[in-house]
């Protein structure tokens, strides 16, 4: 229902004068400042719409691509219980992608356009999913760290000014908590296991720690979108604030597991009541964003294969629906 009428809305906007436009913008910002929600058919600045389309679709792509590194382990999960859990988790990621795509569609972008952007590499997704998952401990580390960081990022979005995005996020956050807990449980089992299992857990933490910290995005000084997004209440905390929160709650969890966080500069600062941590290697982050991570090509290729492989199913389903409609019309 949301996508209806957007074209006419756009056309109307072309005819508004500078003064009318300023008044609309002012009313919009007042609504946002008053913590009212913006809904699909409400007037919104074009830049707000474009920012949301970019952010929500990238978020959706991340959920979809995020199914790949863990999907890798479904057939090799160490027990039936772990396998059922992992299947449910990966299915959730798919569901989250669907909630988010449909939230983005309310802004007037079509599902096909978004998929096209993912498959051609025009759209980005979270850099974290371009790392490989060579061992079972990676599944635990992803749940604990990657989903932990995602939750930290996503909880504030439950109060985002754009209604459909906020509602999708409430649903996602509720489901995400199981993802993190099952990951921590897996890590705990390994950490309490044989020396070899402990080594596996440590190795996974060593590889996922820094990429997880990068998930919060560039440092505040280098983040070009933060100020505007905060004014629009799409974002509630800066990247560095969220990263600090994540470090503060995660380090004690690693200590509980008896694992070592791979950062020689990590130290508890009594005065500020926060952990201080080392400098992030942003060259690695930017390399991955530019497509040069360990698995960038593999991930996009897997999505392309799935899309092409499924095209006959999509077409057949449409043809079948059409045939049934015709038959029902004849029978009536």
């Amino acid at each position: 229902m949301y996508t209806q009428g957007l074209d006419s809305l756009g056309a109307d906007c072309l005819h508004t004068t500078e003064a009318e436009r300023a008044a609309l913008e002012q009313r919009f910002q007042a609504k946002v400042d008053a913590e009212e929600r913006i809904e699909p058919k409400d007037w919104m600045p074009d830049a707000y719409r474009q920012t949301l389309i970019r952010q929500i679709s990238q978020h959706a792509h991340s959920e979809i691509v995020g199914m790949l590194p863990e999907g890798n382990w479904i057939t090799r999960a160490p027990s039936l219980r772990r396998k059922a859990v992992l299947l449910a988790k990966v299915q959730d990621e798919g569901g989250h992608g669907m909630y988010l795509y449909s939230a983005a569609e309310t802004l007037g972008v079509s599902r096909d356009e978004m998929l096209e952007q993912l498959l051609t590499g025009a759209a980005k997704y979270s850099s974290i999913f371009n790392y490989p998952t060579p061992t079972w401990a990676d599944v635990g580390a992803i749940g604990w760290l990657v989903d932990g960081a995602a939750i930290m990022n996503q909880i504030p979005i439950c109060k985002c000014s754009y209604g459909p995005y906020a509602r999708a996020m409430v649903r996602i956050c509720k489901e995400e908590s199981f993802h993190q807990r099952q990951g921590f449980e897996t890590m705990m089992t390994l950490a309490r296991g044989t020396p070899e299992q402990r080594r596996m857990a440590q190795d996974a933490l060593d590889r996922w720690w820094w990429p997880s910290l990068m998930m919060f995005g560039p440092n505040d000084a280098a983040s070009k979108h933060t100020a505007q997004s905060m004014r629009w209440k799409i974002k509630r905390f800066t990247n560095d604030e969220l990263r600090q929160k994540f470090v503060d709650i995660t380090v004690p969890q690693a200590e509980f597991l008896g694992l070592r966080v791979p950062d020689p500069d990590l130290i508890w600062d009594e005065a500020s009541q926060h952990y201080r941590f080392g400098t992030i290697d942003w060259t690695e982050f930017h390399q991955i964003l530019q497509g040069n991570g360990p698995c960038n090509r593999e991930r996009v290729a897997a999505r392309q294969r799935a899309h092409e492989g499924g095209s006959w199913v999509r077409e057949a389903a449409l043809a079948h629906a059409e045939k049934r409609r015709r038959r029902e019309a004849q029978a009536a």
Binding site: K41, S110, D112, E116, A317
Partner: protein
Amino acid sequence: MTQQQKEWPLYEVFIRARSGLEHKHVGSIHAADARMAIEHARDVYTRRQEGVSIWVVRSADIVASDPSDADALFEPAKDKIYRHPTFYEIPDEVKNL
């Protein structure tokens, strides 16, 4: 066929959480037809027993009020506070009213 024709149509999804409650809008789903829309809605929106009944309706078939008409539509009710029970002052000693 063009891209647009290839895309499965969009359906809005409404779910009744349990008997006694109304169906509530939860989001949307793409499907080739209504039957498939219900199947997909089940997979996407009820993985944790969120519902006992699903409605789907083609998004294109929904007629909605225009936000710019909101004042004309809803403002007239604003000054009719006598439609609420709290408008009437009844002495405290009168019970059951």
